[in-house]
C-alpha cells in the first residue's frame, strides 16, 4: 500500500523538485533591468508556480485521499475518458511489460545517433533497422535483411535525390561505402 502510494507520487515529486530548481533559476536571468518592467522571469515564474501548485495538489491527494483506483472518475465524465485514457489513478504498469527490451531499444536509438556521423546514413540506418526488428522480437532473418537494406536504400534515394536533404556520409572507409552507394543510385 505504502509502496503503491510512493510509486504514484514519484512523478509529481520529481516534477516538483525540477520546478522548484527552475523557479530558483528565474531569479538569475541576466538583463538590463529598468524600473516598472516585469522582466524576462515573470512568464516562466507564473508557469512554474502553476506547475508547483498542481504537483503539490496531486501529491497531497494521492498520499492522503486516494485509497484505490476508482472505477471511473473522468474529467469530462464521458465514455471517451474510459476508452481513450484509463482512470488517472490506475497503476502505470502495462507500459513496460518488457523493460529490458525497452532499455535495449532506447540504447540502440542512442547508439544510432552517436554513430550516424561516423558510419554515414546508409550503414547506420541499415544496422539500426535490422537490430531494432531483432530487439522487437521479429525473427525472420531474410525479411530483416531485405527490409533493412532496401528500406535504407529507399530512404537515401528519396531524401537525397527527391527531397534534396544532405544526409551524413560518414568518415574514412565508411564514407567510401556511402559514396559507392550514392553512385549506385545515380546520386551525385
Amino acid at each position: 500500500m505504502v509502496t503503491d502510494k510512493l510509486k504514484a507520487v514519484v512523478p509529481y515529486a520529481t516534477l516538483l523538485a525540477g520546478a522548484a530548481f527552475l523557479y530558483h533559476e528565474t531569479g538569475r536571468f541576466a538583463y538590463a533591468a529598468k524600473p516598472g518592467e516585469l522582466g524576462p522571469g515573470v512568464w516562466p515564474k507564473a508557469i512554474l508556480l502553476l506547475l508547483i501548485a498542481v504537483c503539490v495538489y496531486e501529491i497531497v491527494r494521492r498520499t492522503l485521499f486516494v485509497r484505490r483506483a476508482p472505477k471511473c472518475v473522468a474529467a469530462t465524465e464521458t465514455l471517451a475518458a474510459d476508452a481513450a485514457d484509463p482512470a488517472p489513478e490506475a497503476p502505470p504498469a502495462d507500459a513496460a511489460r518488457h523493460p529490458y527490451r525497452l532499455l535495449a531499444g532506447i540504447t540502440l536509438t542512442v547508439l544510432y545517433v552517436l554513430v550516424l556521423d561516423t558510419l554515414g546514413f546508409f550503414l547506420a540506418t541499415a544496422l539500426y533497422l535490422a537490430l531494432f526488428m531483432v530487439v522487437g522480437r521479429y525473427r525472420r532473418a531474410g525479411v530483416i535483411a531485405a527490409t533493412s537494406v532496401v528500406g535504407s536504400l529507399a530512404f537515401v534515394f528519396v531524401f537525397m535525390k527527391v527531397v534534396y536533404v544532405s544526409l551524413p556520409l560518414g568518415t574514412g572507409p565508411f564514407q567510401a561505402v556511402s559514396v559507392w552507394i550514392l553512385g549506385l543510385l545515380g546520386i551525385r
Binding site: P88, A90, G105, F155
Partner: protein, 509 residues
Amino acid sequence: MFDVLHQLALGFHHLLSVENAAALVVGLIVGMLVAVLPGLTLVMGVVLALPFTYGMDVTPLIVLLTAMYLSGTYGGAFTSILFRIPGEPLDVPLLWDGYTMARNGRPAQALGWTLLAALWGGLITAVSAVALAVPFAKFALRFDAPEYFAIVLFGLTGAVALGSGSVTNALVSLCIGLLLATVGVDPTYGADRFSFGVPMLTDGVEYLTVMVGAYGLGEVLARMGQGFATTPVDGGGKIETSLPRWRETWRFKATVARSSVIGVLCGIVPGAGATVGSFIAYGVEVQHGKRRAQMGSGIPEGIIAPQIASTATVGGHMVPLLALGIPGSGATAVILGAFLLHGVQPGPQILQNEAGMVYTIFASMFAAVIGMCLLGYFAIKPLVRVLRLPEAVTSAFVALFCFVGAYSARNSVTDLWMIVIFGVVGYLFEKYRFPIAPMVLGCILGPVAETSFMTSMIAYQNDWTIFFTRPISGTVMVLILLALAVPCVSRLRANHRARRATAVEAGGG
C-alpha cells in the same frame, strides 16, 4: 456570400493544378493507411509526413495534411468493423454497433452506413468551415493583445479541460510545453533563459522535435515496452461495401442532424476533437435516440452517430486554426507547425492576404470527402492488407521517419538528440498517463501567449485586470474559468455518486 462562393470556385480551379491534386490523392491514401494501422495514430501520421513537405509550396502542403486528417477519421472504421481493431481512439464507438452488425452477418451494410456517414460528416464539415471562417476572421480583426492572450489561453485551457483523462496531468503536460517554449533567448528583453550554457539549448527547443519525438518515437518506445503485442491480421478476406437505400437513410435524419451539430461544435471548441465528438454523439444516441434501447445490438444509428461526428470535427478545427491561428487538436497543431515552417502565420489577416490559399484548402476538403469515400468504396481491400505487416517492422520504419524528419528540417544532429530526449519523455508520458497534446500545444502557442501577455502588460502599465475588464477578453476569461470548473464539478459529482453507490452496496451486502 457571392464573394465567398466566387473564392471557393477559384479554390476548386487552383485545386486542379497537378501539385495540389497530387497532394490531395497522396494525402487521402496515406491518411487511410495511417488510420488502418493500429500502431500509427492520425497525429503521428501527419507529423511523419512533414519531412517530405519541406520543399513543397504551402498550399499543396496544407492540402496534403488536411486530406490526411479527413481520411484518417474514416479509415480506422474498416478495421474496427471488420477485425475489431480500432485504428484510432475515435473508432472505438464503432466497435459497439459496427462490429456487432458485421458479426451479425451484415459487414457490407455496416461499411455502407459508415461510408454514408463519413460522406455526410465530411460535407457538413466542409460547408461549416466555409461558412464560419469569414465571420470568425472579421470578429478576430477587433482583437488587441489582451484579446489574443485570452483567446490563446482559452485554446490551451480547452486542451486541458476537454481532453480525456486527468485534468491535473493535462495541466502538468501543458506547463511543461509552455516551459519548453521559454528556453533560449527571451523575445522581449533578450535574456538567456534556462539554457545553462548548453549551446543546444541557446537556440531554443524546436517544437518540431517535441512533436516528432513525443508523438512518434515515444509511441514506438511504448509499444516496444509492451513487446509489440499486436498480432498481424490477414486482411485479405472478402471486403465489400453495400450502400443503403435513400428511404432507409431518411429514417435517421434526427441522428444525422444531432451528430452533425455535435461534430462541428466539438471541432470549434479547442481540445474537444474527433474522439470526444465521436463518443458524445454515441452517448447522445444512447440517451435520446428513437431506438436507444437497441443501441449496441448492431443498428445503423450506432454507426452513423460516431462516424458523422468524428468526421464533422475536422472543419470545425480548421476554422479557429485559419481565422485565429489557434489549433484545437494535435493534428491541427501539426498543421499550424507546417504553416509556421513555411513562414505563414494563420490569423484574421490570412483571409485577406492569402484568400487563394485558404479557399483552395476549403475546396480540397470537399474534394477530399468525395475522394476518401471513393477510396473507401473501391480501394479499401488492398489498403487493409497493411495489417499483415509485423508491428516490429513498421515501428522500426516509424522510428526512422522520426529521425529523418527531424534531421531534414535543419540538417542538424542536435535535433536528433532532441528527438531521443522527447521520445523518452513521450514514453514516460504514456507510462504515467500524461497526455501529449497539451505539451505540444503549449510548445507551439507558448511564444504567442507570452508575447501577447507581455505586450498587454507594457501597453497597460502592468495592470493584469485588463484581461477581465475589456468586453471580449473578459468574456473569454469567464469561459476559461467555466471550462476549468465544469470538469472539476463533474468529477466531484461522479465521486459523490460513486461513494453513495459504495455505501448502498455496503448497506445492502
